[in-house]
Symmetry: C2
Subunit: 330 residues, 2 copies
DNA sequence: GGTTTAGGTGAAATCGTTTTCATTGCGGTT
DNA sequence: AACCGCAATGAAAACGATTTCACCTAAACC
């Protein structure tokens, strides 16, 4: 069933059918006849042929650091849900945090005709930034705040400020923070600075705050606590840059006899599913990752559609709110 | 840069270049000249045009029940890793356990020219089976054992038999199992039967075994334990059909003062990342989900390539092994 | 009444490949 | 010498849509 067949059956020309599909001037009468035959035959335009002519496909690329992650899964769900309604598909690339792989994927997706790209921002190296800026298809970044590029991210500074405040209210001394590398500006820098701001406000001196660093794994959090316990056995309050890190930290504390919620207060960030169901439910700054994905998809699709008619949209920046969820861990 | 340009520069015909790319008889001399110009110009065939002509694209569809899941994420990672090397991409569809949505996606992927499809099996309804059998593109199912259809799954029966045996060795009485619906033959029936076999072997009478049912969430496990505790406060051994269910169950037990590992033994299935890092590390039957994804991808791609040359491969069934990981929870 | 103007129309060109088809030349067999 | 088979070859058709082009008609304007 091709456009030709539809045209023949409806008794009009190919062009008429094409115009019907893509919007062009057409008499009401033919409109109805075409609509009718399309309904009857169940005709659907072939993606490949359309794409070959127009050069772009109805598909957006999604670049993620790893699929095996709570937040990533939620963001992807959000993107997927949104684009479905617009008839778009999704191709996923896993960068494993490797710059080289990310740049490769970016190039591949661009040249293979993706209509747009969502990349979940991690490290913001110079090369990556250049790639984001230089790419010729619409691109939206999530999780990072980059001026001049459309992006969707959470209010990390305020989240950590408020979260840390809550922890300090109950656990007054011997405070530690387990963060991540500054190469990730939001998760690294913004979250740490938010935490520091709360500490200052609570009268802490900077040198009294223990800061340890970890990667994005539970094991990283586990090891960080081990290091902390070596010097400070009686640690009282711990804030972690992510829930996953917090799980590892909790486990290390529990093993050392410092039961979270009764001997020590601990909190994470993200609001993962497991946070509510760990033995000691984890206090966390709940992030709206799914919404984040949907917002990113919305911006992307709007940009794509605008680009089709030749407009240029200003780079929209969306800062999402968060919600502190207090549970038994503090 | 099109095939035409390459032909012109190399001083050969279009057909020659096409034959060079797709394999056809061609003199050594032209081969070299073409290779040279391709290297020089960096020419890459346009996906859309190729696909339009052949009707199939270098892309495989992946149908998952939800992206927000440990095992799913790992399987997808495995698929992705394998197909990358063959130049294939991946489009993901989320069925949310809804039959209607699954059938829609199946049809959509088939008609939009996916080269093959991997579906992660859940319920095996009649309509789904008919769809799997009737589809005209290669299809591989993971997580379910369906005769006549290529599939990759774990040895659920033996896994549960061995796992339950381990639990019963330490916790001798008042045993409970939290399973899932029989509409999912592997996760529902096979796992329960494996568990029952171990119980029989240990001399349990069927009526002494408490069986509760749950969905695939932690909350489901939590609620199941609540129901169990109403009649049997002193429950001693619990086996759950998945790790996620086990997390919810652990939490409910912990809240009721029955600390896992010291007052009650509990185990799950899957080997999720969190199992090692929950406060009380969870004993589990570790499943090789990533390998499962890779195996599925391998079978699929082999089938696709075989189909191109007109062969028909027998439906390969792969039964993966598991590994019992004993941790503090029992 | 004559001249624009604008919308409606279908034939044909176009996109970048793969595939078919007819032709060539060459080595080997009668 | 005549014939067959086969690898090599390039011109041209095909794939299914969109887009251009030229033409037609009817309404609107002076």
């Amino acid at each position: 069933m091709t456009i030709k067949d539809v045209a023949r059956i409806a008794g009009v020309s190919q062009s008429a059918v094409s115009r019907f599909l893509n919007g062009g001037s057409l008499s009401q009468e033919k409109r109805e006849r075409i609509q009718e035959t399309i309904d009857k035959t169940g005709y659907k335009p072939t993606v490949a042929a359309r794409m070959m002519r127009t050069g772009r496909q109805h598909q957006i690329g999604v670049l993620i650091p790893r699929v095996y992650s709570d937040s990533v899964a939620q963001i992807v769900t959000g993107i997927n849900e949104y684009i479905q309604d617009y008839g778009y598909g999704m191709v996923i690339g896993e960068t494993r945090y490797e710059e080289e792989r990310e740049l490769e994927y970016l190039a591949l997706m661009e040249e293979s005709g993706a209509a747009g790209i969502v990349v979940m921002g991690t490290e913001l190296s110079t090369r990556r930034l250049a790639a984001y800026r230089g790419i010729r298809v619409p691109l939206v970044v999530t999780g990072q705040n980059i001026t001049g590029i459309p992006c969707v991210f959470h209010n990390d500074f305020c989240a950590l400020e408020e979260l840390t405040g809550r922890v300090l209210k109950k656990w007054h001394s011997r405070f530690a923070y387990i963060g991540v590398d500054d190469r990730d500006p939001q998760t690294g820098t913004a979250r740490r600075e938010g935490m520091l701001s709360a500490c200052r406000r609570a009268g802490y001196k900077k040198e009294d705050i223990l800061i340890e660093y970890s990667d994005f794994t539970a094991m990283g959090g586990y090891n960080a606590i081990q290091r902390i316990l070596k010097t400070t056995k009686d640690i009282e309050g711990v804030v972690c840059a992510t829930d996953t890190i917090a799980f590892g930290a909790m486990r290390a504390l529990y093993e050392a006899g410092r039961v979270p919620g009764s001997k020590v207060g601990i909190a994470g960030v993200g609001g993962s599913q497991m946070a509510a169901y760990s033995l000691v439910p984890l206090t966390t700054a709940h992030y709206y990752f799914k919404k984040c994905g949907m917002e990113a998809a919305e911006i992307l699709i709007k940009t794509i559609e605008a680009k089709m008619v030749g407009e240029l949209l200003p780079a929209k920046q969306v800062c999402l709110d968060y919600k502190i969820v207090e549970r038994a861990s503090i």
